[in-house]
Structures are given as C-alpha cells and as structure tokens.
Symmetry: C2
Subunit: 104 residues, 2 copies
C-alpha cells in the first residue's frame, strides 16, 4: 500500500472516530474542558475520567468505554490510569494536524 493510500486510510479512521454524535461530544468535551465557559465536571489539568464523561450522555459505562477506545485507537485522545479512574485528554498535536488538513 502506497504512502498516499495509508494517509487516506488514517485520516478516514480519524473522521470515522468523530462520525458518531456521542463520540464527537466526548471529544469536544475533552478538547474544551476547563477552558473559560465550560462546565466543571473535569479535572483542573484538562483531563476527565470515563464515569464523568458518561453522565451527560445517557449511555452506559461499557459504551462510554468503547467510545473512548475508538478515539484512542484513532489517535485523537490519550489515556492513563490514575487509581480507579482512567484519565483522558485530547492530543494537542492532532488538533494542529486536523486544522492543517483543511487548509488547502
């Protein structure tokens, strides 16, 4: 598979991760958390745990977990265990990359 082919598959996977409304909300919450004007369900260090994220969305924890995994596999977010919780945050690099993608 050519480099070009790989590039399209990678970006298609990124957009697929953002193509579900609930997953997009999760991504958006993580990206904007703790900035001025946002709700305070998240940690002050721009991370959030799976349980907090699910509260707003009316979906069960196993589904939240699944969505988090999809976002992580697509490279959109990073995760790290902290005690009983899993902290999640958006990778700042991917935001730059995506902005660049739409700069033709």
């Amino acid at each position: 598979m050519s480099n070009n082919e790989k590039k399209f598959k990678r970006y298609a996977a990124i957009f697929k991760a953002l193509s579900n409304p609930n997953r997009l909300k999760i991504f958006f919450s993580l990206a904007t958390c703790c900035k001025p004007g946002t709700i305070g369900i998240f940690e002050p260090d721009n991370t959030a745990c799976v349980g907090d994220i699910g509260k707003d969305l009316d979906i069960v924890p196993s589904t939240v977990s699944h969505h988090i995994k999809e976002l992580r596999l697509a490279g959109l977010i990073k995760t790290q265990r902290k005690g009983q919780n899993i902290e999640c945050w958006v990778d700042p690099e991917i935001l730059e990359e995506l902005k660049y993608f739409f700069s033709f």
Copy 2:
C-alpha cells in the same frame, strides 16, 4: 432537540461523509484540483465530473454517484449539471468552518 444537539449531529454527519477512504479521496481531489502540483484530470475552473473522479478509484460509476451524493448531503460539496456531466466542487465556506472547528 437543542441547538447544541443539532450542532453535534451536523458535524458528526460531516465527519461521517469523510470517514470512507474513497469518499475522502474524492473530497481531497476536489479540494486540491487544479492547484499547483496536482494532476490535470479536472476542469480549469476547480470542478470535476463524476466519470473523471471514478477513474482513479477502481469503483463503478453507481458507487461514485452514491459517494458524491453523500458528500453533497453533508454540505461538503456543490454540484451542477453541465450537459451530460455533473460538475462537482468543494464549498469553500465549509473548509473555513472545519478549520475553525478544530481551533479550541
């Protein structure tokens, strides 16, 4: 449905349209066509027809047509009949909007 809910559904639909590798290639070709360094299968006015688009992709015309429709319904591209052909081009406004979306 709240305005916020609508917003997420709309953007999720946009990303869904870009979540298929072939559709993403079509979008990319249209967005970059006729700019320096691109191949010259397209019209000089930044438009392309369905037949041209399908040549590179190894998919039959009916599938190309389907993908074009998805991109159009998502608001990513515009189309217009010109004789036997349907001209397609990327909506410049949506590119700005998407760049802005990733500017947190």
